[in-house]
Amino acid sequence: MSATLCLTQNGNAIRRADIPLLSPDRFQENLVEALDSGWRVVSYFGVPEGGELFLHAVLSSKKEGTLGVVATSLEGKRSFPSLTPCAPQVHLFEREIAEEYGVTFEGHPWPKPVRFQGPLTSPGGPQHKPVPIGVMDFYRVEGSEIHEVAVGPVHAGIIEPGHFRFQCHGEEVLHLEISLGYQHRGLERRLVGKPSGLMLKQMETIAGDTTIGHTLCYAMVIEGLAGARVPARGHVIRGIAMELERLANHTGDLGAISGDVGYLPTASFCGRIRGDFLNLTAEICGSRFGRSLVVPGGVNFDLTSEMAAKLTERLRAAGKDLAGAVQLLWDTPSVMARLEGTGTVSDLVAAEIGLVGPAARACGLNRDIRRDHPFGIYSMSQIPVVTARTGDVYARTLVRWLEAEKSLEFIEEQLHQLPGVSVREPVGAPAPESLAVALTEGWRGEVCHVALTDHAGAISRYKVTDPSFHNWTGLSLALRGVQISDFPLCNKSFNLSYCGFDL
């Protein structure tokens, strides 16, 4: 490995002075070199400081089990050569930086708005709206028998808003363009200053169904910056909550996929069983979504051994119900016919665009933060990584079920051996002039948080990357050549977050 990077580990902080600051040219070459030798971009963002814009890239190497950080300065210029043509996985990061800081990425093949937000440089809020939401130069296929279908932002169910533009020839989708931003709440604008209770609440609601995934990332960042340690029992309870979150959501998705192919038994059962898992989280912390559970330094709630025994019993019962409900899918030929071969993404495309989570694993990409950059309890207790090969809706369904199975085993094992006494330790002030990176494997995939602190130890820039940010393009590509009536099914098989993307 010849790339210049400041190496670090998941959840650790480094001094900002140690981050190599390269010239724009060298930065580009360096990134290409790193990506060629197997590194992957987990985050790439702008940091405005003293009238200058710096770009920071955070890379992950599965082989080395390490993270790398590198930076460049735009040197007063407002344009930068685009890396997307040779490294498509950065395409959306570049669009994001372009929108947030008014930078032009020359040669970017798809320079369009990401969230229709005002510039991030103005701390008091957007000075102007560059483009009204949804007004965009949509990709169009021309031809006498081509028609366009526009869906959203308001959808048919109780679903978050987004706009979908299909170019169709008859029933066949030639291209789907996804335009988001409706959920944009100005999150990153708020994530500055000293860590606070409010900041934690905002982390819990980045994507409300991934409360544990995001709050854990935030807690790890703050702990890394403060050099705090988390007691073993805290780690275990965090792991239990993380896997319960995965179980609940995977169960919901298995049911929803079943519903979208019109197979109601599994859809009905899973709708209820999902609630059983959410209720287990509520037994631990009072909230079905794990609100107020994870805090910097540990967790807010302990488990007694009686509680653990009760939870185990309920977990087993719900797990048994889930197994029975899901088995029906595999046993029903009409369901399998709808899942197999629908919405396929190849492993090559998946790797190229940088898919993460179950969507990536369904394409055969063997990546999982719990194993590649282990954190908390996963450093001690491994959870097997599940992959499939076909990259279609069936593979995404199968991976979910197999992961649910592994989570069930993992939680039961952890509930059985709760170590130590303390669940939370005090956390000091964040170190000044530092950068901390934390990654977790949420149920949708890799969640990445990066925080930079100023000379006083206050957060000056906080970057959140939800797995959906990597994966929406995957859905778009899965639709190519698919019947438009299969869109709901494909969409459900990815089940991405709108607010996690829109921030």
Binding site: V154, E160, R185, G197, K201, G208, R272, F301, S497
Partner: protein, 252 residues
């Protein structure tokens, strides 16, 4: 087919018996605030100071459930037991001011629609949901009411796909600027007379995103609200209880 029938037998019938029978909530569930101002030392502001969303007032001690995220900050900060949260999930109200809990004050839960509206909607009430910056937690726990565990349809209440088929607008999220227009267009498309429900702290007060430059601190600024359902997110029981009170199925 036989396998589906066997699975059906294994899964059994588990729709909640609520409202005919009460529902047991987890012991650690945080519901209706219990205030003991008499425990508070003079001019103590600990709870007020730590509340991330400014939901607590002192002298007299109050909790604004429209802002409250039902988190644990005040519980941890207060050594005197001034504020705690009971197991009562009946939190919905018809008026914004009824969400403010004052010690010793009269509690006003949600009440039934006026006679004319009740005759229209009492036995069939359809909502069109618009998510305007919601994080998918309020949405998920609204959605869950339509599953077999809750079976909302048995009360004649349903979520429908078109505003043209709806009697009311169901709002979640703090109303992002980017969603404002779509929200208003959806409201306009619903035939009058119509209802508006604000579900969750965000839609009532902006929740954890209050005063963000890109959100509007809830729906009230734009539309008259008929039912407020507090919580972050509200428990499905809180939502169902509020709805059943609105259509006069729960009276006490």
């Amino acid at each position: 087919m036989i396998k589906a029938i066997l699975a059906r037998m294994q899964q059994g019938h588990r729709t909640t018996k609520f409202p005919d029978q009460p529902m047991t909530l987890p012991e650690r569930f945080r519901g209706y605030p219990v205030l003991k101002g008499s425990n508070c030392p003079p001019s103590c502001q600990l709870c007020k100071e730590v509340c991330p969303v400014g939901a607590i007032g002192t002298e007299p001690l109050t909790v604004d459930m429209g802002k409250c995220l039902f988190c644990t900050e005040c519980l941890e900060a207060c050594p005197h037991g001034g504020v705690s949260y009971g197991n009562d999930a009946r939190l919905a109200t018809r008026k914004r001011e009824d969400l403010v809990v004052v010690e010793g004050g009269e509690r006003q839960m949600a009440y039934a629609l006026e006679r004319k509206m009740l005759s229209l909607f009492g036995r069939s009430l359809k909502f069109r949901s618009v998510v305007a910056g919601g994080c998918n937690a309020c949405e998920a726990d609204t959605n869950v009411l339509s599953t077999i565990g809750w079976d909302l349809g048995r009360f004649g209440i349903q979520f429908v796909a078109s505003p043209r088929h709806a009697d009311g607008l169901w709002v979640t999220g703090p109303v992002t600027e980017n969603m404002r227009e779509a929200l208003m267009l959806t409201y306009e498309a619903i035939p009058a007379p119509k209802l508006v429900v604000a579900c969750g702290a965000c839609s009532i007060s902006g929740g954890p995103f209050f005063d963000s430059s890109e959100v509007h601190n809830g729906v009230e600024k734009f539309l008259p609200v008929d039912l407020y359902i507090p919580g972050c997110p509200p428990h499905p029981l809180t939502i169902l209880d509020g709805l059943l009170r609105l259509v006069d199925r729960i009276k006490e």
